[in-house]
């Protein structure tokens, strides 16, 4: 095939995709609510129409079929009884904001009052003048559409019905936790949170649970100079659920962003993180531990841009897969020409507990500065036979020995969590999973 012919096919395909998207969106009016939010929604919808909904043949979706995340019809997911495990950060003193089926539940939540922090509900924000949020909503998402298109993020900005707008101007005494509960085996939740940290402010943001049979949860975080955002989330254990999340984080000078995600079970899950290190000396750590047994497809897609000198970034992703589970990692470090002395690190590893599971990884470095230190590695392996034998020779039963090695494998990701209390909470959940999923 000649080059012009290919180009033509591609253009034709895109045209067809846009037409199909436009036709589908006809049936989906934007949520009510005017003001700045309404305008942001309209703009997001225009972005979405300009990109089209994702398809399997899109390069960015090569390893994960977007159908279940993008289709109009939502695949139901049976409700999961997770009561055998404390799993809403109950042991941790925190401000609790509860969403049920994707809608804020004031009754179940704490008062939205905490010193050093302002919190507003998205569903009530449109008509109000919330200057610190309204120029952010959809803005980081829009910026994140280049160089890679993320249509499902634009769809989230257009259709999100609820969420929180958080402005932190000091160091609040406790974390803010977003607790997602679901009461129905069917339906979708679309949540969008905006977080602004003023210079020097600090916040620990927790998220827990799957918000619905299918969820789309986006966070836009603007982290000003010298501020720090710690983000720890666990996405539930419901097997048939599907979900896509995006975290867009823009970091100022000397600021810190640390994000850790624990994913267990789930049919089709994709977590995207888009991070810009825009000020000198910033630090971003994105980490995740994912465990799947059976019909499990988990995708971590990360894009870190070093746009200022002297910044550090780490991506640490670990996946434990068994019984046909599939893990995906697409991770990129982009270093702009100005970003000298960048220290970039990326590791993605999977532990395949049998031969039916698979790990697909696409690690990428794109470097335009000359004085940088960047490394990346991706491995896929089984449990080490020598280690297993050593443990058994000391008396550990096979299952215990295996469990210990699985946890050891995941441990490196947990190290990315600063708070011991939160790391212990996550470790406890990992142990629970490993103990429940023996051979």
């Amino acid at each position: 095939m000649s080059a012009p012919a290919v180009a033509k096919t591609r253009a034709a395909r895109r045209e067809a995709k846009l037409a199909a998207t436009a036709a589908r969106l006809e049936n989906h009016p934007l949520p009510q609510g005017g003001g700045w939010l309404g305008r942001a929604r309209v703009a997001a919808l225009a972005r979405l129409k300009g990109m089209g909904l994702p398809e399997r043949r899109d390069e960015y979706w090569r390893f994960t079929n977007p159908a279940r995340l993008a289709d109009d019809a939502v695949t139901p997911a049976a409700l999961f009884d997770a009561s055998d495990e404390v799993d809403e950060f109950d042991g941790i003193d925190r401000l609790k904001l509860v969403f049920v089926d994707g809608v804020f539940d004031a009754q179940a939540s704490d008062d939205l009052a905490l010193e050093g922090i302002e919190i507003a509900r998205l569903a009530e924000a449109g008509g109000r003048d919330i200057h610190w949020a309204q120029d952010l909503y959809g803005a980081l998402e829009a910026e994140g559409q280049s160089p890679v298109e993320r249509p499902l993020a634009a769809r989230n900005s257009a259709y999100a019905r609820d969420g929180v707008l958080i402005r932190v101007s000091a160091k609040p005494s406790k974390p803010v936790s977003l607790i997602y509960r679901r009461s129905s085996p069917e339906g979708a939740a679309v949540l969008h949170h905006v977080i602004r940290l003023e210079p020097g402010a600090e916040l620990t943001l927790l998220e827990n649970g799957p918000a619905a049979a299918r969820y789309s949860i986006d966070i836009e975080a603007c982290i000003a100079d010298g501020a720090a955002l710690h983000h720890v989330r666990a996405q539930g254990r419901d097997h048939e659920r599907s979900g896509i999340t995006h975290v867009f984080a823009r970091l100022g000078e000397g600021s810190v962003f640390k994000s850790f995600t624990l994913s267990a079970n789930g049919a089709v899950l994709r977590n995207e993180a888009v991070v810009w290190l825009n000020g000198k000396g910033g630090s971003a750590h994105i980490a995740g531990a994912a465990m799947g047994d059976g019909a499990f497809h988990h995708d971590d897609t990360v894009f870190v841009t070093h746009a200022a000198p002297d910044c550090e970034s780490r991506q640490v992703f670990k996946k434990v897969l068994r019984n046909g589970a599939v893990g995906v990692f697409q991770g990129k470090i982009l270093v702009d020409q100005i970003a000298q002395l960048t220290d970039g690190y990326q590791i993605s590893q999977s532990l395949l507990l049998d031969e039916t599971s698979q790990f697909l990884a696409k690690p990428e470095l794109e470097i335009y500065a000359d004085d940088v230190k960047c490394s990346h590695g991706s491995t896929s392996g089984e449990i080490d036979a020598d280690q297993l034998f050593y443990l058994r020779a000391r008396g550990l039963p096979l299952d215990d020995a295996q469990g210990l090695l699985v946890l050891a494998f995941l441990a490196e990701a947990l190290e990315e969590i600063d708070s011991n209390e939160l790391a212990d909470d996550m470790r406890h959940r990992l142990e629970g999973w490993v103990n429940r999923h023996r051979r």
């Binding site: 036979a385 020598d386 280690q387 034998f389 050593y390 443990l391 058994r392 020779a393 000391r394 008396g395 550990l396 039963p397 096979l398 215990d400 020995a401 210990l404 090695l405 946890l407 050891a408 494998f409 995941l410 441990a411 490196e412």
Partner: protein
Amino acid sequence: MLEIKNLHVKLEEEDKAILKGVDLTVEAGKVHAIMGPNGSGKSTLAYVLSGRDGYEVTEGTISLEGEELLDMEPEERAAAGLFLAFQYPVEIPGVGNMTFLRTAVNAQRKARGEPEMSSGDFLKLIRAKAKDLKIEPDMLKRPVNVGFSGGEKKRNEILQMAMLEPRMCVLDETDSGLDVDAMKLVADGVNALRDANRGFLVITHYQRLLDHIKPDVVHIMSDGRIIKSGGPELALEVEQNGYADILAEVQA
């Protein structure tokens, strides 16, 4: 205590015989040493005793206090009282040394129907034993054998042995890589465990260890067989003359 009869072992993956009829009995309270040229099958014997994969026993039996070892999983052998100090201790990143040992002690106790050791008792015990072996407290917190020097790994093996108090201890070249002082510490660790109910099988290349751990019997292994057994003087002979004379004598 340990009875090995006519043991023939080949590699599982290839048609290569490694042990070609080993007969060996270690009585309770005794220390037996095995010496022999590189590649003669000493480590293979140790691995087969502890149940490592990759070997196939084509003939023979092994029993520990009357129980057939070959029918047991490695962890069952450990619980039955068998311990192997590895020639090459394995590094396990992500698993703390202390956690590992506590898990091991309690797993064996559980398998034997004994109550778990409390963490207080465990801590007290391991601190004392580590001190005897001059193992820094910091090494207990580090991941198993990761970043340990060769000598530290060997001492860590002896620490495990001291904590697990096995009935039958197999030491595979625990002396190699040890400096003179460390060798003394390790020997002291072994000697402290010597009693009338415990057997030892000490694999070594050097007489020096046997100066500290006085063996009752010395065996020479060559090409998968024990070709000669004798008293401690046999080790001295090897030290002085190497294996050539013994090999020639046996072939003659």
